[in-house]
Amino acid sequence: MYILGISALYHDSAAALLREGQIVAAAQEERFTRKKHDAGFPEQAIDYVLEEAGITLAEVDRVVFYDKPFLKFERLLETYIATAPSGFASFRKAMPVWLREKLFLKSYIVDRLKTREPGFTSARLLFSEHHLSHAASAFYPSPFDEALILTIDGAGEWATTALSLGRGGSIEILKEIHFPHSLGLLYSAFTYYTGFRVNSGEYKLMGLAPYGEPKYADLILEHLIDLKPDGSFRLDQRYFSYASGLTMVNGRFCKLFGQPVRLPEKDPITQFHMDVAASIQAVTEECVLRMTRAAHAEYGIANLCLAGGVALNCVANGKILRDGRFDRVWVQPAAGDAGGALGAAYAAWHGEMGRPRAPGEGGRDAMRGGYLGPVHDDDRIGRDLARLGARFERLDREEMLDRTVEALAAGKAVGWFQGRMEFGPRALGGRSILADPRSQDMQKVLNLKVKYRESFRPFAPSVLAEKAGEWFDLTAESPYMLMVADVTEAHRHEMTPAQTALFGIDKLNVARSDIPAVTHVDYSARIQTVHAETNPLYHALLSRFEALTGCPMVVNTSFNVRGEPIVCTPEDAFRCFMGTGIELLVIGRHILRKEDQDAALKEDYTAKYALD
């Protein structure tokens, strides 16, 4: 039996396919259309997952959409009524879309699917609640038989936060916090206020936080959020305009902090913005920790699963882990709305159809390292590269690994395209740019010459799982780069008083550890532990790098530039390679050196994608 899950029409459209309750494939539409966070109906992602299974839509038993449009419409209407007449501008923008498309979602989806199977009817179409989809994506593929599930995001239908209990094949929603009270929207409000784009700039705010001091945390707790001891909260809507307006915050909010909203391409990022980032990060962590502590105290369950956009806040995740209340914490790697496609499919299989569930053998989860997307065999890669005019060598596995490691140790930025593409926002060694973490200049070089992004943004390490404990204060696996932990004391460098006294971006110029390229200014690192079971080739690469250098990790950043979706095909990878400062490209067994390539194939990549 096949079940197809779909998320679409808001942001991060995706499709996922289950066969007898096991994941066959999952992918985000943006990777195919090359439009970041593409919200369109996931035509190409659906085609891909069906092709991966070798079936047509006619063989799919159920199609499940990841949220309930009528419930969302009910929320919109009630919000407009509650805030009338101030919400008219927003109403005027929203209604045409709803009355043309979203309200008729069922027939819209049926029509789209009929282009693949003319006989498709709504009898095979199901709708799952938004937070149930998130909870299902967090619990069903987790390695646990029983767990509490915390899902936190901007907003689904009504729920913005939900605590659920997963046991065997069932999920029971225990508590919810409803719109407009939303931790995700609070974080997004500050993303907007500091001049970053809502729904994509939240990572930047998190990355900016360690440069600042949480000077405004008390102000936020005093005026914006009424945070209870159990982590439940209410937001003072007098400071926000997202419920009925077209912006996230209003004049009262700006007056509270004493500065207007930062205009991204005009106003510089100052110490004030860093302090604001540190403050909202501290409040978010406090809120999430109160929730997890209260949930553990009330239900006494040893495992915790996380999903929803806020679960991508890996700094908060690391604090939950170190808090020690839960024995094990598992975070769905596609924690945002893309993962809702997978969760919706799971919810139908176990929930609607009542199929039993057996958690992964050997304590492993069912996500297979997150490598659930398209793969390209070496023959096809060779043909594609030849067609593009690339100059390359095809090597055997050992030589390819040796040459890659030598380039890394020589300080080169390496494009690494291997195996199946990752599902979720993180590159995990399938579509990655790799570099030597020991280099002091690497962070700046990668940010400015390779990724074309802001210089303050940190990079993450991929480390051999068995060596992670020697380098980081990490007590558990972090295969999906969703846990932050500190570099161990043994690998830190002592700061001089002058270095300690540095402020803001100046902190970047100091090598804080033996691995400065992946050590943030507060000594933290966003860690991916690499496991031989899920990615043997990447594990072999790291092992070889360690044998050569003594360092069991590399810098791992996604294979794209700012504003571009992560590369999907060899052609995408070659174009990105030719448009950026990547010096060596390794695709399957093929190696391409920048100096060998035809200079006429270079393209200006700096302005190719709209800034995110």
Binding site: L77, M95, L99
Partner: protein, 49 residues
Amino acid sequence: MTIISELWHFMNARKKLWLAPILLILGLLGGLLVVSQGSALAPFIYPLF
């Protein structure tokens, strides 16, 4: 017609039949917004606002 029936069942199940008249008015208003975008109808509905 299907959508009206589905909405009716939805409101019934959610015990929110009070939304029906509001939905009707908002639907009409929203419908006018849809048809008026860039169309010759626009001048005729300005007095409504």
